[in-house]
Amino acid sequence: MMLHLRRTSLLRGWSGVCRCQTGNQPSRNSSSSSTSSLFVAPDSSSAGLVLHSQSTNVYQNLALEDWIDANVDLQQRSILLLWRNRPAVVIGRHQNPWTECNLPAMRRMGIPLARRRSGGGTVFHDLGNLNLTFFTSKKAYDRQRNLKVVTEALRRVRPGLDVQATDRFDILLNGHYKISGTASRLSRKSSYHHCTLLHSADRSALSTVLRPSCPGIHSNATPSVPSPVANLLDHAPTLQWEELLDGLVNQYNAEFGFSSALTLVNPTDESVFPGLSRMETELRSWDWTFGKTPKFSVQTLLDLTDGRSSARSSAQLHMEVKNGLIESCELDVPADWLPRRLSGELVNMLVGERFCPHGAAAAVALLLRSESGELQTRLHHLCDAVLSVMG
């Protein structure tokens, strides 16, 4: 499968590929015959490659990153991939989605959740955010240099813009607002470093979704460090996408001594990217997105007060969750509110299920059908409270 990537060839045609305008114009060189030659081993004048993904689907783009990392020989060349996504939340490899983002709100707003393979914290992507991925060999891995490409590019298109990369690999605007965050991944021989760049993102959506789904979670997953953010467009109102992208491509070439033009790529083209759809499927799966959460525990108090009785009633819930599945569950419900037999049944139903309101829904519905009257109402109330903890 990877043979065509390693074969040296006399093909130099692609370096004469014409520059593509981003956005509306259809690319002339995205036909499969010419893009499949993209990854042929380069000669020295074309050791760098700048790609722009035509897809705005977060899973396809993450899969494209994986594909390049796995299939392209990065020892002799480097790649810069530019991509944007429709609204999505992206968590880091070892993070806990229930603490990092508000899953019920995301479901209501139709915003999907993706887990990337690199480390780091949680970010909100939308079409106002540009993602840049720098692919290099492990030896050439240098994040500050990559960020310098971004800051220098910004300074060139807008002289006087105060942008600075920090030692935590963020880029700050005016010394205060974060406009870019970084994450990376080191594999056996290759590496990639990707960062965001806030151009014109929807900040209110961002703040709505980037908060915990439910209280009471104790985990040693990688936490996110919240920072105040700003959009470039707010501080440089005339900076449009085209100018920004051109500036970045030019700076990338200048910094690394390349002379590559921007090439559009389509991750859904199986002839150019064989096997990418399989990677995309894996990234979409529940087992990857939620199942890869490090082990955590949930300890919270459920409020069982119903409209009828004036007495306040509450239940103590303690769950251990591993690989996204409920490993153990303790539910302490006052016996005068609901017989222990029923709360015990509910606990039994939950163990082994996914920590997800839908995972246990069928089992819970089955349990509810066996009861009737007041008991059923209370059990229903308890079930709702427990399921709402799961996001």
Binding site: R93, G119, S187, N220, H358, A361, A363, H380
Partner: protein, 453 residues
């Protein structure tokens, strides 16, 4: 030679034949081993379980050339890039897992970077030296790997297809979920169907019954799998239903030609207007709702605790859907107010949710009557079982061309057998038969609905 090999293998529980096989290999290798031993560095701090006079190869550095059987190596944290000092370990593999060379064993998260730590050789993870989430620095020992252990007897939960050929005579002790070769090659050892034609129960739900690998040599082992909670609960409910209800089934047959023709004529326009396909379920669901409003006893249920009959004004029809995880029964509410397109939309929406595993508790709560379609699996005839707490269930079966007598002549018509299982404590025979005939009348000629007959 022999004494050393015995020490090295103590506690492994191998069978004698396997040991002798390995012994031979070791004898062969040890000759070369001695010649290189002088170049190896012994780890004095490592407590050895073998006497020190014995030559045990413990390496400090990765040995990628010759693979020495059963050598345990300690893999260390690789150096971090860019002068980073420490990171958190996230384990991908656990103790006892076998890994191939270069397979990722763990990832180390340092400062927003995820670094993969591959296994230097094929083997079995012997011990994890850092807890999950623990901090490590470059050079910290991470885990111990027992090399060359493709034939290890450690509990290895991989499917039998990968069972090492060397261990053929005594099969390795099977851990519960592993599929050992079973008696008959043809029939998979899954539990028998829950009940005769329980609504669409053909799908075997849980991962507890993996498809067994085709047995190598007609073995006769057994495989015990614990019943999961959901299955236990369903089993309990079904038996309760059987014990309380006086369950009987009445049958009838439906001539599907008219409804098929209606569908043929209108399906394209329907698809264009409503954006979903026109199926047969809507006809049966609507027919059932019509018949249920006409005969409230079938829509009612006996409350055993209070000895009352509960009559309901609304018709909520539960539709049995087979999903990969098992049978789920989402409910369409207030069907008596819906027309065919509303019903199709509702079924479609629920089917989508079920497929994506997004059904909520509210979607599956309640229901006054159930319809189950065994026909999708090709069923000809069968007795459905009531879905408690309800009083009746309609079972649809497959549509097959059959010769039938129409006006004294034999004609071939697409026919479907339908079955109604009902609770005889509440519904008597005449009511049940009339009910089923009403459904038949509506499906055979939907104009009956317009004329309210």
């Amino acid at each position: 030679m022999l004494s050393r090999s015995r020490c090295v293998y103590q506690g492994l529980g191998r069978s004698l034949s396997a040991v002798s096989q390995v012994n031979n290999v070791l004898v062969r290798q040890s000759v070369s081993g001695f010649s290189v031993s002088s170049r190896l560095v012994y780890r004095n701090s490592q407590p050895c379980e073998v006497p020190s006079s014995v030559n045990v190869f413990h390496t400090r550095y990765f040995k990628t050339s010759a693979v020495h059987r059963d050598e345990v190596i300690t893999v260390k944290t690789p150096a971090f890039a860019e002068s980073v000092t420490e990171g958190d370990v996230r384990w991908e593999k656990a103790v006892g897992d076998s890994v191939t060379e270069d397979e990722v064993v763990c990832e180390i998260e340092t400062d927003k970077t995820s670094v993969q730590v591959p296994s230097p050789a094929a083997g079995v993870i012997e011990e994890l030296l850092v807890p999950d989430g623990g901090k490590v620095e470059g050079g910290t020992p991470l885990f111990k790997l027992r090399k060359g252990a493709a034939a290890a007897a450690k509990a290895d939960p991989s499917p039998a297809a990968e069972a090492p050929p060397a261990a053929a005579p005594p099969p390795p002790p099977p851990p519960p979920p592993a599929s050992t070769p079973t008696a008959m090659p043809t029939v998979p050892p899954v539990p028998p169907p829950t009940a005769p034609a329980k609504p669409v129960s053909a799908v075997k739900a849980t991962a507890a019954a993996p498809a067994p690998a085709p047995p190598a040599a007609g073995g006769r082992g057994e495989n015990r799998v614990k019943m999961n909670r959901m299955r236990l609960r369903i089993a309990q409910r079904l038996k309760e239903a059987q014990n309380t209800c006086a369950m009987l089934t009445t049958f009838n047959e439906v001539d599907m030609s008219n409804i098929q023709e209606m569908r043929k004529i209108h399906k394209d326009a329907f698809l264009k207007k409503h954006n979903i396909k026109l199926g047969f379920m809507s006809a049966f669901v609507k027919a059932a709702a019509h018949a249920l409003t006409d005969q409230p006893a079938v829509n009612a249920v006996i409350d055993d605790s209070t000895k009352e009959i509960v009559y309901r004004d609304y018709v909520d029809i539960s539709v049995a859907v087979a999903t990969p995880k098992g049978l789920v029964v989402p409910v369409i509410r207030n069907v008596e107010t819906m027309n065919f397109s509303d019903i199709e939309k509702a079924i479609n929406a629920l089917g989508e949710k079920a497929r994506k595993n997004e059904l909520a508790v509210e979607d599956m709560d309640g229901g006054t009557f159930t319809i189950s379609n065994g026909g999708v699996f090709g069923s000809l005839f069968g007795t459905p079982i009531i879905n408690p707490p309800q009083s009746a269930i309609l079972g649809m079966h497959g549509i097959f061309d059959r010769p039938v007598a129409i006006n004294g002549k034999v004609e071939i018509r697409p026919m479907m057998y339908v079955a109604l299982t009902y609770d005889h404590r509440l519904i008597d025979g005449r009511e049940a038969v009339t009910f089923l005939r009403k459904i038949k009348a509506v499906v055979e000629d939907p104009r009956v609905l317009l004329l309210d007959m």
